[in-house]
Amino acid sequence: MMASTCERRFADSDAMRERFTAVITDLVAEDPRVAAVFADFSWDRLSETAREHPRFFNVGAREQLLIDVAGGLALAGLRPVAHTSAGSLTERPFGRIRIGLNLQDVGAVLVSAGASFDLDVDGRALSSPADVALMATLPGWRISVPGHADEAEIMLREASRGFDLEYIRLSTQTNSRPYWTGEDGFVALRLGVDGTVVAVGPIADTVLAAVGDLDVTVLYAPRIRPFDRETLLATLSVPDVVLVEPYLTGTSAAEVSQTLADVPHRLLCLGVAAREVRRFGTPEEHAAAYGLDVTGLRSRITAFIGG
């Protein structure tokens, strides 16, 4: 008998989050500068060895404290990696991020799980389609949206060695394989002449299936801030751009517009609409509800590119 939707919500298919707990355990053990801060969420997924390590901290269900503790650890000379679900990491303590990290001029790595609607079997309280848009309002944040656990691991390891502000957004939605191995900017998955489709992170496989035999360029964007303007310009054909983001629709629209400020262009933004769906169920069902499945993307991209 198939497991119920509810039973599958934290299933083994949660590849990025599983990878995160394994990699962060290694990073803290290997690098005396790295400290990990949790707020209960995922804490039970860590090994006992990790939980007892002096640079692993669990502040409990105190998300404001989570952020300031990260800032304070950085002030003490450490490289903090803070983790909880996306809404609890960004929306709930947003002012803490601005003041406890940006204003203090310290670096930190924030790693979220749950993405836009991975956990929506729990309801809207655990969904977070606006996290990337929020984080993009703050200066200095590199925002990564890995599409595969291998990509997430590269990002985590690189971020742990750095000094800057990093937001890494993990999801249960993944592509069938990694499309990025640490390149600086976007990766061209296909080159075409009738327009450009930018696919962010885990939506790439769906985008590739949706564009089918349309003769378009598909750019893979596992990092969305800073936005890779150079590659978008360098690969531009007909200046019709489709931006497919697996979070709030149009989050990066201004980046595209500014990139193409001197080029008359058209832009179609596809993503998660700002509305209260009030549904539970699976991430796949939510993707379909927002038109982010193959059918929904294909009809809208085809109409736009052919239009």
């Binding site: 005396p32 002096p54 409990g60 404290l65 300031d68 304070g72 204003l103």
Partner: protein
């Protein structure tokens, strides 16, 4: 008192408590020594308690003072000037666009300022720093956070007080400037810390000897809070 405006902070000028009113006067533009509810607490900390100096700004073993209370920085700047962290001449620009000295001290702009002030952030940040220093094996440095009593109502402070007590952050100290004039309020402030496992003392915030005792006489196995009862600003300006 004479202030050598152009002399750099390294120069040997010995300021003492009685010079602070004059230093604060540089910020307000008039010499009738505006004073501050927190001046005595700050002076006792910097003069007798904190292991800090302008020569030790990057020393891992230094103590750390986080001013969270952001609405009364003049006393803080005066003490930083008197103790050689900043040049006294900078005080005259207080609040100006091109001055490093704003109403909320900024750690990027002012040497010796450990954390940029913002209501409700000093204590949670200090919790992180206490955890970090302990994890690095730096057991000696103490952390001090100054809060206003109204500021303690920020929910983030409750998260920090509760966590710090359970984590037994014994190098963490808080001084709450209580200008409420209310015995009930003072008792409530003490209960908040005591109920989370902190040691707590209530003290006259203008008595230097008693402040020093309260700051240094705590048991060393848990975080420590000092509720400093001060005259309200209205009372000070009338006196």
């Amino acid at each position: 008192m004479t202030i050598e405006l152009l002399r750099p902070p390294q120069a040997v000028i010995q300021y003492d408590y009685h010079d602070l009113a004059g230093l604060m006067g540089l910020m307000t533009g008039h010499s009738d020594a505006e004073t501050s509810s927190a001046l005595d607490v700050l002076w006792v900390l910097y003069d007798r308690v904190l292991q800090v100096s302008p020569r030790r700004i990057d020393d891992d073993e230094r103590d750390r003072f986080f001013l969270s209370k952001g609405n009364d920085p003049k006393a803080y700047y005066a003490v930083l000037a008197a103790t050689g962290f900043i040049e006294p001449r900078l005080l005259t620009g207080y609040g100006d666009y091109d001055s490093p000295l704003g109403l909320h001290p900024d750690r990027v702009l002012v040497p010796g300022v450990e954390a940029s002030s913002s209501r409700g952030h000093g204590l949670p940040l200090a919790v992180g720093t206490a955890l970090g220093l302990r994890a690095r094996g730096l057991e000696q440095p103490r952390l001090w956070v100054m809060l206003g009593d109204g500021e303690l109502d920020e929910g983030a402070n409750q998260e920090a007080v509760s966590f710090a007590g359970h984590a037994e952050l014994n190098r963490l100290n808080v001084v709450v400037i209580d200008d409420s004039g209310s015995a009930a309020r003072a008792a409530e402030l003490q209960r908040r810390f005591a109920s989370e496992g902190w040691s707590v003392q209530h003290v006259d915030g203008h008595d230097h000897g008693k402040l020093e005792l309260a700051f240094t006489g705590a048991p060393d196995n848990r975080p420590h809070a000092v509720v400093a009862r001060v005259r309200s600003r209205q009372a000070i300006s009338r006196s």
